[in-house]
Symmetry: C2
Subunit: 361 residues, 2 copies
């Protein structure tokens, strides 16, 4: 049955939040931040035994197709699809649906991201397998909710409703409500309530279910997907995609569908999950030294605590500094207060405006 | 009369306090931190018109002779003298006295350093000129005291006594007392008193006066100087210097002579002077931006104030950080709390102990 399972890996990240190590040419998903493998490679490996490589599509930006293909040699090159420009996740999902439909209009597929870290592989695969089974049996849209282990203000939440009966290990619930990133007090009430889950941005559905839902709730993306269907595998694909993407607006799949549809089911994900959203996330994934410093690379420090140092090309020396992120890349070095890591994006944008830094961004 | 004036420039600094930009192979005095010229070049230029180039000797470490000669093309190569190992300033002064005596036993010479920044060139030259005049006329040791413009705890002080009558513009006083670096309260009383001056480490004396003073107060250095006299300009010089330096202890000219002799006169230096002792000194010599950041090179910053950034090879980006020193060098980057800049030395020593960083130190 694995030939009926497909996967669309969304790998369109611009990598701004991991600047200066990540750049538009080398975004977060292709960085080997976590050992010898990139996040994209890890994402592909996680599908091993569940979705055959020829059924895995990667949607990335056109300029990253080469780098992505090189980083994913186990996939057919034709499965690496480059978007001419970003149109957010609804478009990427619609495009993925067209790619899968061209192969098998009856199939279910999962949408996973290339820039998350996921643990407990068995649980993850069981969750996806049972979700795909449910998705071919029923006309539902399945979203992955992650059991929260702390009141994060960095993620959106899904409120779960009635349990959905199902033959398997994984718990499914009706998805009652999607909420945006909350403040801390609200996040605490969510976590205490026991029926709020982190919105992971991973989905499972049949081609039919997602296309009919797009038709109903956000028709332009459905039209794009239908138009693209006849170009799949042909030389006309890139030109058609540029034309069709030109007709649609940027909108996330959450806004376009998830907050509107009423056939949404949440799979309860009990595997470890982190979106590795910015530099401080590294401290969740690497051991700290006795002073609380997390160091990737070479660092000499004196009276310095709780810093995150990425210094793989050159030595970093710290004296009397605390709670900093210090990242040395080939052509730039970032020194950032740890609680300001979300503003790395702002620096990148500011450099873009100023101009003259193309090679660094 | 200029042919009777000589100068010995002490350029033996190890450059630890300006690491990682300065290294043992490229110490502070040869760095071009202050525009297009190194501190050594500036030191030589300051003697222009006062001491002819052929009468200027530079005493540095043996391993820096080549780099120093290249950085000082206006001097005869033979005037760049390399010490086989450091024996502190008394030895360098004794060696300088031997070098000058070999040319003219009746001459006076000044001892200046290669790692200070000095302003008000006219005042500086007048001070040296009148000091050299006094030094050939009288059997005195002249030290340069600098009128303090703040209660520095980073310098030693000289207490001035009776005024010395003299035909010229510069004020001379008997030097009553040399004191080590004081605490802040003591420094404040010094500055308030009006008769304490910063000990600049610059001197003027005749060959006769300094050699007889060394004979009286620190005989081993006088013996070394006398022994070296016959080797000046000969092939035997380097071997003899290694042998003679091997016989003497490390001692500063302050301890060996200045705190003991009773024929010491202080020239009142009213020129601007800074020993540029560590990274924060840069803020005295370069303008700050509106946020108080002093930047040499390329820096993009967001909500960051009062930082010192030296980033001539690569971009530095700062987010939400204050009062840091950030220095990017070819193979290492330093991130240091500004009030901990004196500990740069400790990091260098720690890296030396650890080993494997020879190219960086």
């Amino acid at each position: 049955m694995t030939q009926d399972r497909y996967a669309v890996i969304m790998a369109g990240g611009k990598g701004e939040r991991f600047w200066p190590l990540s750049t538009t040419r080398s975004p977060k998903q292709v960085l080997k931040l976590f050992g010898s493998k990139s996040l994209l490679q890890l994402a592909i490996e996680r599908l091993n035994g569940l979705v055959p490589p020829e059924n895995i599509f990667v949607v990335t930006s056109a300029e990253l197709v080469e780098a992505t293909a090189q980083g994913a040699p186990e996939l057919p090159k034709a499965n690496i699809i480059g978007e001419p420009f970003g149109r957010d996740t609804a478009a990427a999902v619609g495009l993925g649906a067209a790619l899968v439909k061209a192969r098998n209009p009856e199939a279910a597929f999962c949408v996973v991201t290339a820039d998350h870290l996921i643990g407990d592989l068995d649980v993850f695969q069981t969750t996806l397998r049972e979700s795909m089974q449910l998705a071919v049996e029923q006309d539902v849209l399945i979203t992955m909710g992650i059991s929260p282990n702390f009141p994060s203000t960095g993620f959106g939440y899904i409120e779960s409703g009635e349990s959905v009966s199902h033959d398997g290990e994984i718990a499914f619930f009706n998805a009652e409500r999607f909420v945006e990133k909350p403040d801390l007090a609200t996040a605490e009430t969510y976590v205490d309530s026991g029926n709020f889950y982190w919105n992971s941005g991973m989905f499972v559905w049949s081609v039919k279910a997602i296309l009919s839902s797009l038709e109903a709730h956000h028709e332009p993306v459905a039209a794009m997907a239908n138009a693209m269907l006849e170009h799949v595998g042909k030389d006309t694909f890139d030109a058609a995609l540029a034309e069709e993407y030109g007709k649609i607006d940027k909108i996330s799949i959450d806004f376009a569908i998830m907050e509107k549809a009423n056939n949404i089911i949440m799979a309860k994900g009990t595997f470890r999950w982190d979106d590795v959203g910015s530099w401080p996330a590294l401290q969740e994934h690497f051991p700290a030294d006795v002073k609380g410093n997390v160091v990737l690379g070479e660092c000499e420090s004196l009276d310095s605590t709780r810093n995150i140092v990425v210094s793989e090309e050159r030595l970093t020396a710290l004296i009397g500094v605390n709670d900093l992120v210090v990242v040395q890349a080939a052509n730039a070095t970032l020194v950032c207060a740890k609680d300001r890591a979300q503003d790395v994006k702002a620096i990148v944008q500011s450099l873009q405006k100023r101009g003259g830094y193309d090679g660094l961004l």
